[in-house]
């Protein structure tokens, strides 16, 4: 089996994550789509690491995880704050920047 299959899987997961962001109105689910995209990226990085035979790719994936953790903390806090004020978790209800 060619390792590039991992890359194809990564691409498919990434696409599904992106579509989740586009199509789901629930902020939490959309956010999970973002996480899915990050995880797909990590898979690609790990695969590249293996192909190249050095651990830099894994290190990068590690950093992505840490940053993603930080992002999740802040993102969920924002969602909770918005829900408190608007009683809604829909991303479409937050459109104060409408022109």
């Amino acid at each position: 089996m060619n390792p590039s299959n991992y890359l194809v899987l990564s691409a498919v997961l990434f696409t599904i994550g992106a579509m989740t962001v586009l199509l789901r109105r629930n902020a939490v689910i959309a956010f999970m789509g973002v996480e899915l995209m990050l995880n797909a990226t990590n898979l690609a990085l790990v695969t590249f690491s293996r192909m190249n035979g050095d651990l830099v790719g894994q290190t990068l994936a590690f950093f992505v995880m840490v940053v993603a953790a930080a992002e999740v903390v802040v993102g969920l806090a924002i969602i909770v704050a918005i829900f408190r004020t608007r009683q809604s978790a829909s991303v479409d209800d937050v459109n104060l920047m409408k022109g």
Binding site: V21, L22, L23, A30, V91, D92, L96, M97, K98, G99
Partner: protein
């Protein structure tokens, strides 16, 4: 005390007094008028001291240039705040402050019952200060400051009773007409700067006299100066404001619109003698303007039934004499100023007399409702009569010495062109006769004949109907004018002492001033400024001219006597000939102005407004609409919806990646 400081004080004292009266306001109501009188008198004393100082010098040294400091410095143009005390300016100073002081005193009584007398005196002081600055300035620019200052004071005083709309409008009219003239002065200064690089008298006159400036430039400058003079001195074609300016209180008419401010134009022309000497064409225009105004004023004066307006027309006519003389060159400058001084005295006296009459007649000015006042106003009739004789030019009264000389000068051929001597000589001669007629008419209608102030309104109407006869009855303006106060019985009474004494002093001047000045060599005294005139022979011999003048004057006087003393004066004005009706309407000056200037001006501004609304505003609003419209379009993209933005981003990424890949493939 140094002379420099004295010269500065001359202007500063009345200015400070005006400032005190205006700034302290009602706090000065009780003594403010006396402060005004004091300030004016102080200026006169200072002026007299300076005059004595000048008299004590040699003729060549009779110029005192006072530099108070640098006014402003703008690149190549540097203007000093400088005053010039010389025979011409000190003559004006003495005239302005002396007559001014008398009129201040007169006003104390005349304005006694006016609630804002203090404000009146503040304006009078402001006028005196501005007028002194005008005549003392040593550059056209500083002169312009005074020029505008007197214009402002004139405006404020004409509209002093501005609660009366007509008076306020009259003030505005004077202001606007003066602005037209001011444009002339500004353009003249611009031309001077272009031609000589300076606006100082010394530099400009040296350049003009030295031939450094071409005749074309001098003509242009001269004509622009003449325009300015026309505006200020109510000369044709800018004459229309003077009659309406009589809306101001009578002392104002006496001081500003008879004795001093309106003569500023003559001063300007005489002061600019070197410029005009180098521009014969401009001089000819000055003479023509003077001659036309002379006749114009005289004709209007013959028809007016309003005492003050008749006097105003007379003023216009007399200034026409001065202007004509000033246009004759060195031969006439001195006589222009001479006549200006004597006219200042007797015309001020006449106006004060008119004020006294109005005081006696409950502010009425309709001469047709006067008559027989000589019996009641004994002092006034004497002082007025002396002024009347002076303006007629009857020897040995003041006018004889000044006006006769102007007529003589007009008969002197200029540049060897006898036609000019004949034409202008004849005009002045005719003017003298007409002057005699209308002044006598005025004098007789007011003081002699049957008293008409108690004629009831109904009888007046009947008289009108009789006079009109078969013609259209009662179609005249003065009939309506003769209503109101007349219905009540009048009890004419002489004015209080404060009003009488100034009249007496001015009457004394009307009697003696001409003789005194003529015998003491007034024209020689002015020579440092006006230049020496070679004696030239008029086309007629002098005794002939004098005789003809006196004959013309006598004819006018007799005609007036026949018509207004021997014949009954109708209380309501008869319809009169077309000329009379035209003259009553100031020869349709307002209609002409309306048709020639106001109408087209309104049409032009109306057109501009339309053009502005449609084209300019349209363009501006269109740009705005375009921006708003495109903004509204762009706004629709900004939905505020995160998912739309994300979709856009992702589509962009896809498209970009697709393009990159396609390019690589």
């Amino acid at each position: 005390m140094s002379l420099d400081l004295l010269a500065a004080l001359l202007v500063a004292v009345p200015l400070a007094s005006a400032a005190v009266l205006l700034v302290l306001g009602r706090a000065t109501d009780r003594w403010g008028h006396w402060l005004g009188v004091l300030a004016s008198a102080a200026s006169f004393v200072i002026g007299a001291v300076l005059a004595l100082e000048l008299l004590g010098r040699d003729a060549e040294a009779r110029v005192l240039d006072v530099t108070l400091g640098r006014w402003f410095d703008a690149g190549q143009l540097a203007v000093d705040l400088g005053l010039r005390v010389d025979p011409l300016s000190i003559t004006f100073v003495l005239l302005v402050t002396f007559v001014g002081t008398l009129i201040h005193v007169y006003s104390v009584a005349y304005m006694e019952h006016d609630a804002s007398r203090r404000r009146f005196f503040a304006y009078l002081n402001l006028f005196v200060a501005a007028m002194l600055l005008l005549v003392l300035a040593d550059s056209y620019l500083l002169l312009f400051v005074g020029w505008e200052g007197v214009g402002l004071a004139s405006y404020l005083l004409i509209g002093f009773w501005n609660h009366n709309t007509a008076y306020a409008v009259a003030g505005k009219k004077a202001f606007v007409a003066n602005r037209v003239g001011d444009i002339g002065l500004i353009v003249a200064m611009g031309l001077m700067l272009a031609a000589t690089g300076s606006v100082g008298f010394t530099q400009v006159h040296a350049a003009a006299a030295g031939g450094a400036v071409s005749e074309g430039w001098l003509t242009a400058i001269g004509l622009m100066l003449l325009l300015a003079a026309c505006g200020k001195s109510a000369q044709v074609p800018l004459q229309s404001w003077l009659g309406d300016a009589m809306a101001g209180p009578t002392p104002v008419s006496a001081l500003i619109h008879a004795a001093t401010m309106v003569t500023a134009g003559v001063y300007l022309v005489v002061r600019s003698a070197p410029v005009f000497d180098g521009a014969p064409t401009a001089q000819l225009v000055v003479v023509v303007v003077g001659a036309v105004t002379l006749v114009y004023g005289a004709v209007v004066g013959c028809a007016k039934d309003d005492l003050k307006k008749a006097l105003a027309a007379s003023t216009m006519s007399q200034i026409g004499y001065m202007m004509l003389a000033a246009g004759l060159g060195p031969v006439g400058y001195a006589y222009a100023i001479f006549h200006l001084v004597t006219h200042g005295f007797f015309k001020a006296g006449l106006f004060l007399g008119a004020g006294s009459v109005m005081h006696a007649m409950a502010d009425s000015v309709d001469m047709r409702r006067f008559g027989g006042l000589a019996r009641y106003l004994k002092v006034t009739v004497v002082t007025f009569g002396l002024g009347w004789l002076a303006i007629l030019g009857v020897p040995p009264f003041a006018g004889f010495f000044s006006k006769d000389k102007i007529i003589e000068a007009a008969f002197v051929p200029v540049d060897g062109q006898p036609w000019r001597a004949w034409v202008f000589g004849a005009v002045t001669l005719l003017g003298a006769g007409v002057t005699a007629f209308y002044m006598s008419r005025l004098f007789f209608m007011t003081f002699f004949g049957r008293p008409r102030w108690d004629v009831p309104e109904e009888e007046a109407r009947a008289a009108t109907a009789r006079a009109a006869g078969a013609r259209t009855a009662g179609a005249n303006a003065s009939g309506a004018h003769a209503s109101g106060a007349h219905a009540a019985g009048h009890h004419p009474h002489e004015a209080p002492a404060l009003m009488r004494w100034p009249m007496i002093v001015l009457a004394a001047g009307s009697v003696a001033l001409g003789l005194v000045l003529a015998t003491t060599g007034f024209t020689t005294w002015l020579e440092p400024v006006t230049g020496h005139a070679e004696h030239e022979e008029p086309v007629l011999s002098v005794p002939v001219i004098t005789t003809l003048t006196l004959l013309a004057v006598g004819a006018g006087l007799v005609l007036a006597y026949l018509r207004y003393v021997r014949d009954e004066v109708p209380v309501a004005a008869p319809a009169g000939s077309p000329l009379t009706r035209a003259a009553r309407a100031d020869l349709y000056q307002d209609a002409v102005n309306d048709a020639v200037l106001v109408g087209p001006g309104r049409a032009l501004t109306g057109g501009l407004v339309v053009a502005d609304r449609t084209a300019v505003d349209g363009a501006a609003v269109g740009v705005g609409r375009l921006a708003v419209g495109s903004g509204a379009l762009a706004r629709r993209v900004q939905t505020g919806l995160v998912r739309s933005y994300a979709a856009t981003t992702l589509l962009g990424v896809v498209v970009l990646a697709g393009v990159v890949l396609a390019l690589q493939a």
